[in-house]
Amino acid sequence: MPTCNMVQAINLALREEMAKDDRVLVIGEDVGMDGGVFRVTDGLLGEFGPERVVDMPLAESGIVGAAVGMALYGLRPVAEIQFMGFIYGSFDQIFSHAARMRNRSRGRFCCPMVIRTPYGSGIKAPELHEESAEAFFCHMPGIKVVVPSGPFNAKGLLVSAIRDPDPVLFLEPTRLYRLVRENVPDEEYTLPLGKARIVKEGGDVTVIAWGSMLERVVKAVEPYSADVIDLMTLSPFDEETVLESVRKTGRAVIVHEAAKTCGFGAELAATIAEEAILYLRGPVLRVTGYDVHVPLAKLVDSYLPGVDRIRKAIDEIMRY
């Protein structure tokens, strides 16, 4: 069982699925010869050829739209958007089409496709290279949103995403791409979409996070007995696991790096306020990015929720 980082794990998932299923294709900008700007698709061109690893013109809407067309025809395209900040140009294709084709045709046609994109802060890149725009896509019926937090779950979740009969947005936290290595089986395994992972169990407080925030959350909860939940799938999210934990601990802290207002944390807090309020001892706290645009390198660390801010929130909620 090889140990690999998240880039390698995702690469492995693509490789295995492509080998197994000739309907699976990879399309995107610089995914071929270059192997992707993060090298996630490295080697695929050599292994599967230019018909299955397709370098596309610089046209995000066209890329997603073409993936929709491929999926309608019966293929299972995996489209890469080079950075999440460039997915906005394909918003219309995702929401008006990918997410609605099954509905519009009453099941006659569907869009089994994955959109992969590097996501989130922490690489000190230019503007629009560090976006965490997950919440937009969680407000779209018809599409799933998945965020892995490590190499092992990245592979298992991506395989499930590729096999899913409906469109899946797969958000890869760039900060985690090469941060840790884990044992990642090169035999087949899948992780179910829509199921959260309990990272750590405890009785006093529930902390909910995903992607690159997990690592900070785990540090922040050290002094406490906390349930740490890694959602992994944001849409549909694992309500049961969240509510069960909150009903047990009576305290909830939500952590994400996106701007606070209307971030996905709002939905979590709202769900808790609707379904578990009688169990709560105190307010549902959100530790998030501020309501600003992700700043450039010099300030990005001040923007991101750090261990300190998360710890403070837990300190605060523990006073109830």
Binding site: S61, H97, R106
Partner: protein, 356 residues
């Protein structure tokens, strides 16, 4: 600026049947009499559908409806060139194409009455659902053509859209990809001179839409869109080219929207009656009738019979559509995704129980 010329291009126009009913025999596609008759029936059926739909809308029996009046030849002529197994990506004004492809007419009425179930293409027909958002379905046709190529299938792909769609970014991205990969796709634009109130000349400064293909390195051609033979011929050749690896073709069918944009529109606000009258003289059905009469393919009796038969077909279709029970409220949760989420299932149950 004195410089050297590095490229030259020409744009051509195809016309076969003029509005007096004369056909240019050198250009005439090879069609049996039975084909010509069938085309005529489809044109009349399309117009009859359209007339009935406008009436039904006025009576409140269907919702907003976009008339195809004047564009029948562009739709029937192109669809007649298609194989059943081809993949068709329509916009929202394609009744004539649906009819020529043999789409069940009751479903069309059902759809326009506000019931999504009218968009379930029968198995064996690869007609994608109506795309309301102008031009944004073009990349789907391109993606499907990539899949056709990948699968080494003989199918061709066609996308239908209007002159207005030619301004959308997705037109450009789709065309760029189609050209770059020389894909087996035909882009069929019905330039009906108007995008709601926007006349073609103000939509783009290009003299023809056909020349837009030059930007993508493939062929663009203008055809008389009220000439069912020219449309048929251009489409058939483009489809053959596509199937033989010759890449995409952009066909601009030069035609006219004789009616309002939709039943919600009042075209008298923005265009002259004279313009409309002028175009009425180029009616695609009239000129085919003239040709058929000259060739002894159509008597006065034939005409009446074709029209009566069309009316019967449409009557039956309306009856069938209106006999379909309305969808249950839970229909909105079905076919949203393969497996509804826990929350969606809860909502569906809640809805049935009239919960919050």
């Amino acid at each position: 600026m004195p410089e050297r010329t590095i490229a030259t291009f020409t744009i051509k126009r195809l016309e076969i049947l003029d509005d007096k009913g004369n056909a240019d025999e050198r250009l005439m596609p090879s069609l049996e009499e039975v084909d010509i008759r069938r085309m005529y029936e489809l044109l009349v059926l399309s117009r009859t559908f359209d007339e009935r739909a406008l009436n039904l809308q006025r009576e409140g029996r269907i919702g907003t409806y976009p008339s195809i009046f004047g564009q029948e030849a562009a739709q029937v002529g192109s669809a007649y060139a298609l194989d059943k197994s081809d993949w068709v990506f329509p916009s929202f004004r394609e009744t004539g194409m649906y009819i020529a492809m043999g789409y069940p007419l009751p479903l069309l009425f059902q759809y326009w009455s506000g019931d999504e179930r009218g968009l379930i293409s029968p198995q064996g027909l690869n007609i994608l659902p109506v795309s309301v958002s102008v031009g944004t379905h073009i990349p789907h046709a391109v993606g499907a053509a990539m899949a056709v190529r990948y699968r080494r299938d003989r199918a061709a792909v066609i996308a239908y859209f209007g002159d207005g769609a030619s301004s959308k970014g997705d037109f450009h991205e789709g065309f760029t990809i189609a050209g770059a990969f020389r894909l087996p796709v035909v882009f069929l634009c019905q330039n009906n001179q108007w995008a709601i109130s926007m006349p073609r000349e103000r939509q783009t400064a290009a003299d023809t839409l056909a020349q837009k293909a030059l930007a993508y390195g493939f062929e663009g051609v203008q055809v008389d869109g009220n000439d069912v033979f020219a449309v048929y011929r251009a489409t058939r050749e483009a489809l053959e080219k596509a199937r033989n690896g010759g890449g995409p073709t952009f066909i601009e069918c030069y035609t006219y929207r004789l009616s309002h944009h939709t039943t919600s529109d009042d075209a008298s606000r923005y265009r002259s009656r004279e313009e409309v009258e002028q175009w009425k003289r180029k009616d695609p059905i009239d000129r085919l009738e003239l040709l058929m009469e000259k060739r002894g393919l159509l008597s006065g009796k034939d005409r009446r019979e074709v029209k009566e038969r069309s009316l019967e077909i449409i009557d039956a279709a309306v009856r069938e559509a209106e006999s379909v029970p309305p969808p249950g409220a839970d229909e909105m949760f079905l076919n949203l995704v393969e497996k509804p989420s826990r929350r969606q299932s809860k909502q569906m149950t809640g809805m049935k129980n009239a919960d919050v």
